[in-house]
Assembly symmetry: none
Homo-oligomer: 181 residues x 4
DNA sequence: CATGAATGAGGGTTCATTCAT
DNA sequence: AATGAATGAACCCTCATTCAT
C-alpha cells in the first residue's frame, strides 16, 4: 500500500491528489481514509519513516561517539538508501521546502539537528580540526547537497564516485583504493 | 510589482494563489494576466531572474577561469544574496524540488550546471587536486546544502561563520583572520 | 442499543453518522444494519416511539373525551416527558423541521393531528368556548411552542412555572395553589 | 440572487448543497463564494435578515412599551410575513433546531429573547395579569407554535382565523368583528 | 490599462451502505 | 451474530483563468 503511495514523490506533494494516489494504489479514495487520517498524516508517516531509517545508520551503537568506521559506514549507507529509493528521497527533500508540509515534521527535525551536529562536532574535535563546529555544519550541508543533487538527476550525478573524495576531505579517511595503489 | 509577488516565497508555490498575490501587490487579479501569461510564467520569470542574478557573481569577467579572488568573491556574494533575500531563495530552493515547477526551468538549469562544474573543475585542476571533478561536485553540493540549510532556518544557521572554513577547505584560500593571528 | 443511539439527538440528524452512533453504542457499523435497514429506518423508529409515548398520555381511556382531570394530567405528563429526555425531544422537534426526515413520519403525523384537535375541540365546546376549534389549535400551538422553547434552552426556560397559567388560561382549570390561598 | 437561495428552505440546511442552490439560482458553484464566504455565512445572513424583519414590527417606535394597537399590529404583521414567505420561515424554524446551524445565530437570539419577553411582560402587567411573566412566555410559545404549525402545513392551517381568538385570549383585545355583531 | 464577476475542474474529506469473512 | 475493509457519490470549498465592461 504505502509502496504505491510513495509514488506521490514523483509529482510532489501538491500535485498528488488523494484521488490519483488512490487510483495508483488500486484502491478507492474513501479507503485511503481508513489508513490515513488525512493527506497530511500520510505524508507525516512517510517522512517519519524516512528520518528513522536514516537515523538507524547514524551512530548505530548509540554511544554518541562516531568512529571512523561508523562514519564511513554511515556515508555508504546513506548513499545506498538514496539509490535504493530515489523517489522517496525526492519527496523527502521536496517536502522540506514546502512550508505547509515542513510544519508537519518541524518538531522532529528541530530536535534532531543539534544532536546530529553535536556528534559530528565531536568527531572533528577528535581529529584535531581547527573549526569542528564549522566542519560539522559543512559536512551536513554537503550531504544534504549531494542528496539533493542526486535525487534531482540520478542518472547523471556520479554519487558513487564521490565517496572516496568525501571520506578524504570530510572524514580524514584515506580510502582503500588509494592505499592499494 | 514583482517585489510584492516574491512574497509568495513565504507560503510556497501552491499556497500562494493568484488572488492573494494580486491583493498583496495591490492590483486586480485580471491585471496579473496582462503581465504574466500564467502563474507558471510568473514563477519562471522569478526563477530566471534569480539564476541570472547568481550567475552575475560567478566568473564575472566571463573568461571561463576562476581566480582565487573571484572564487572568494563569488562565495561572499552568494551568501550576501542569500541574506538579502531569504524568502526569495526559499522559494528558489523549494521550486527546485517541485517537479511541476522545476520543469519550467529545467532547460535553463540543465545547460548551466555542466558549465558551472566545468569552471570549478578547472579551478581544482589549477590547484593540483587529485579529483578535480569530484571536488567541483562536492563544492556545488556544499553550496547548495548551505543555502538550503540557511533558508530553512536563517536565525540559527551561522552562515557567516562558515565562510573562512569554506575558503580553506574548498578553495585552498587561507583566510585573512588566520593570517593576522 | 437504542438508548445509545438516541444520543444522536445531541448533535442532530446529519451530524450523527452511523459510525459515531455505532461507536457510542459499542457495536460495529455493520451490525447496525442487522437491526435497522437504514439510517432513516432508525430515525423513523425513534420518532414513532416518541409519538406513541406521547399519545399514551392523551385521552388515556381512549373514549374520545377529555375530562378536566385527563387534560391536567396530560399536560403534566407531557412536561414530565420533556424533562426526562430533553435530548430526545430536541431531536424530535428538529426532525419535524427537516423535510427529508419529516417525510418519514408524515403519514403517522397527518393522521394524528385531526384526531388530536377533534378531541380538544370537544373539550372546549364542553367549556362553552366561543371558538372551540381556534382554542384547540392555539392550545396545540402553545404546547408545541413551550416544548420547542424548553428543549432549546432547558436551563433557562421555566417550564414548571407555566403549568398553572396554562391550566387556567387554556383549560379553565383553577390551579390548586390558588384554591389554597 | 438571494431569492433563489432561500429555496434551500424547501429541503433544509443539510439537504441543500451549494451545488443545488447555485444551480437553482442559475449561477456557478464558484460564484456563490464571491457572494458568501461560506455556506454558514449564507445561512447566517438569511437568518439575520429574518430576525431583523420580524423585529421591525415589534415595538416599532422602540419605546419599550407595547400599546394594544401595537400588539395587534405586531401579530397581524407577523402573520403577514409568515404568509408572504412561507418557505423562508420554514427554513427559519428548521435552522433553530439544527444544532450546527443554530450556533450561528445563538448570540443574536440569546440577546433578543429577554428583551422581547420583558416588553411583553410589561404589557401584561399593564393589563393586570396575575402572572405577567408566564403570560408573556406563553404568548411567545403560542406564536412560535402557530408559526411552526403554519409553515409545516400552510394549506391546512387556518392561521387567519386564529387572529381574533389570539387577540382576545392573549391581548385582552376584543376584536372588531365581534363588537359589530 | 484595469477590474472583478463568472466559470468549472479539481481539491480533501465524510458517510451511508455493502459484503466477504 | 458480528466485524470492518471497501466503495463511490456527494459535500464544501479553492483556484487559475477568462472576458465583458
Amino acid at each position: 500500500m504505502e509502496a504505491a503511495l510513495e509514488l506521490l514523490a514523483n509529482d510532489g506533494y501538491y500535485a498528488s491528489s488523494i484521488s490519483k494516489i488512490a487510483e495508483k494504489a488500486g484502491v478507492s479514495k474513501g479507503l485511503m481514509y481508513n489508513y490515513f487520517e488525512s493527506k497530511d498524516a500520510l505524508v507525516l508517516e512517510l517522512l517519519s519513516k524516512g528520518i528513522d531509517e536514516m537515523l538507524e545508520y547514524f551512530d548505530p551503537n548509540n554511544d554518541g561517539i562516531l568512529t571512523e568506521a561508523e562514519m564511513e559506514s554511515f556515508i555508504r549507507n546513506i548513499f545506498m538508501l538514496l539509490k535504493k529509493d530515489i523517489k522517496y528521497w525526492k519527496l523527502y527533500y521536496a517536502l522540506f521546502l514546502q512550508p505547509q508540509a515542513f510544519k508537519l515534521i518541524q518538531d522532529k527535525y528541530t530536535n534532531l539537528v543539534p544532536a546530529f551536529i553535536g556528534i559530528l562536532t565531536r568527531y572533528y574535535e577528535a581529529h584535531n580540526s581547527k573549526d569542528p563546529v564549522n566542519e560539522a555544519l559543512l559536512f551536513g550541508a554537503m550531504m544534504d547537497g549531494v542528496g539533493f543533487n542526486y535525487v534531482m538527476n540520478p542518472s547523471l550525478y556520479p554519487i558513487d564516485n564521490l565517496i572516496d573524495t568525501i571520506l578524504e576531505k570530510f572524514c580524514y579517511i584515506k580510502n582503500n583504493k588509494n592505499e592499494k595503489t
